[in-house]
Amino acid sequence: MRRILWILAGLVLLLPSPAVGTGGDEEGELGAQPARALALQALSILEQGVSHELAMEKLDLALASPDQDDVDVGALRRARAALAGERPERAEELLRRVFPEDDEHLIGVTLRPHRGTPELIAGIIAAVIAALALLGLMRRRGAERPAEPRSGSGATAA
């Protein structure tokens, strides 16, 4: 029990200041969503007839995104121009070409933090905690083993 208290106290000391809980006011690259997700939103907005302005906003964000993998940027530009020229049907058609029929028109979590030093430290802390917990469980089992004379007396183990 005392070992657990020490581990927990150590964890509390390891925690940095709560002030580092946010990235501050500046929006870094992580704030920018992948162009593919934004373009899919724009397509869906046009398909559902939600708002041309909103679709244009999403296309602007897609064209400005640093992550333009797996997307035809030229088609996005033409779709943006079609929307600016009040031709939403043409924009929709162009965006459909960006996403072929057999492609899954689906997004979910598209923006993930980069893995770096904090994740490495988290992994190391995880390994230390896991080792201590496993050691504790094994010692616990070892300490209780002599008090198990009833094995084979009819009580079946779970």
Binding site: M1, R2, I4, L15, P16, P18, V20, G21, T22, G23, G24, E27, G28, L30, G31, Q33, A37, L40, Q41, S44, I45, V50, L54, K58, E104, H105, L106, I107, G108, V109, T110, L111, R112, P113, R115, G116, T117, P118, E119, A122, G123, I125, A126, A127, I129, A130, A133, L134, G136, L137, R140, E144, A147, E148, R150, G154, A155, T156, A157, A158
Partner: protein, 368 residues
């Protein structure tokens, strides 16, 4: 035969306490004033097996979720205009990103251990007399956990969250008066997102802790359920004769398992940090629900929104009614083949629907 090793600190007031005199004095002083030893009770040896520790592990995961949730709440803005940006800001920060990922993975582990605990309780027929109320409070906790997982999905306020909230609103319409709280019209002062946040950080956890307290008191009152193997008479005899150990020994095991859960969540957060989708747009549907709600997705594809109320309702009602339907004395799953077959069928249906929901073509449901 009850044998409690004497060297345990929490077994009884005045029991011999190992370690330094300071610890002993502190414990005695606290116990004298707070009656802490009342929480201790003899625990049968089989309760230290992993299968019987799942409830404690789930509780440990819940407490870790509360701790990481309190941290995240210091930086989360529940106003609809700023919620997404505040989650992005948390995800951009070193510590914030790790804590958010740990919170996410803990919620997944919590869902898994809770479901396994429920399954173990079913298989060992631990819901039978006199533990019906323990089972029903457990089922209530299962439902509240579903509410916590659902509301947590909405808070990140990305496209997935928007769609989850739109389903919430549509279901509120379906429920009529019963769904009024879930509708945006309920409060003119606060946005629905803000009220969902309040539910996630106060209403649901307070309810959860209240029901949990009753659940734990009932576990103490009736003791840990016996091993189910053999005839009903054999189970009763074994329960009476089984060797018992100190509660603290059980508690320390739970604490070690909880540390393992924390380690696993940290490791998953390091390997696969959770992210966020693009800021949501109302009226479109281009996401699928998280895996624990994915079984509802095909049902919604086939039958519309009604199954979102009916299917969980039937499951919940069935679980509550179980102790009153299966009233026989037998606890051994090999002697309750009909019930076990029913459970296997439900699990297979859940698995099939989840996999089908994962691979099936996405369909727009809301507003159709």
């Amino acid at each position: 035969m009850t044998a409690i090793p004497p060297a345990d600190p929490v077994e009884a007031p005045g029991a011999r306490i190992p370690g330094r005199a300071g610890w002993r004095r502190a414990w005695t002083a606290l116990d004298e004033r707070l009656g802490l030893s009342a929480f201790a009770y003899p625990v049968p040896r089989h309760a230290n097996a992993l299968a019987y520790t799942l409830g404690g592990i789930t509780l440990g995961a819940f407490l870790l979720l509360v701790a990481t949730g309190v941290y995240l709440s210091q930086f989360y803005d529940p106003a609809p205009a700023d919620a997404h940006a505040s989650v992005v800001a948390i995800s951009e920060a070193d510590v914030g990103s790790i804590i958010r990922s740990v919170h996410f993975w803990l919620s997944t582990i919590f869902a898994v251990t809770l479901a396994l605990h429920l399954l173990r309780t079913f298989v060992t027929a631990s819901y039978k007399r006199p533990r019906e109320a323990t089972w029903i409070t457990g089922v209530l906790l299962f439902g509240l956990a579903g509410g916590l997982l659902y509301s947590g999905t909405i808070l990140k306020w990305d496209q997935e969250a928007f769609e989850a909230l739109e389903h919430n609103t549509e279901i509120a319409d379906l429920l009529g008066v019963l769904g009024f709280w879930f509708s945006p019209e309920f409060s003119g002062a606060l946005a629905l997102l803000t009220r969902v946040y309040i539910a996630h950080v106060s209403l649901l956890p307070v309810l959860f802790l209240g029901v949990l307290a009753v659940h734990l008191l009932l576990v103490k009152r009736h003791g840990v359920s016996p091993l189910p193997w053999g005839t009903a008479a054999e189970v009763v005899r074994r329960e009476r004769e089984e060797e018992r150990g100190p509660f603290t020994s059980h508690l320390v095991r739970i604490l070690y398992w909880t540390l393992l859960v924390l380690a696993l969540a940290l490791l998953l957060a390091a390997i696969r940090p959770t992210g966020i989708g693009p800021e949501g747009v109302a009226g479109i549907e281009i996401t699928k629900p998280p895996w624990y709600f994915l079984w509802l997705y095909p049902l919604e594809n086939w039958f519309g929104l009604n199954p979102l109320v009916i299917a969980p309702g039937v499951l919940f009602a069935g679980l509550v009614a179980l102790p009153f339907l299966d009233r026989g004395a037998e606890r051994d799953p090999r002697r309750r083949r009909g019930w076990v077959a029913l459970a296997v069928l439900v699990i297979l249906a859940w698995g099939f629907l989840t996999i089908y929901g994962f691979v099936t073509e996405p369909v727009a449901h809301v507003g159709e």
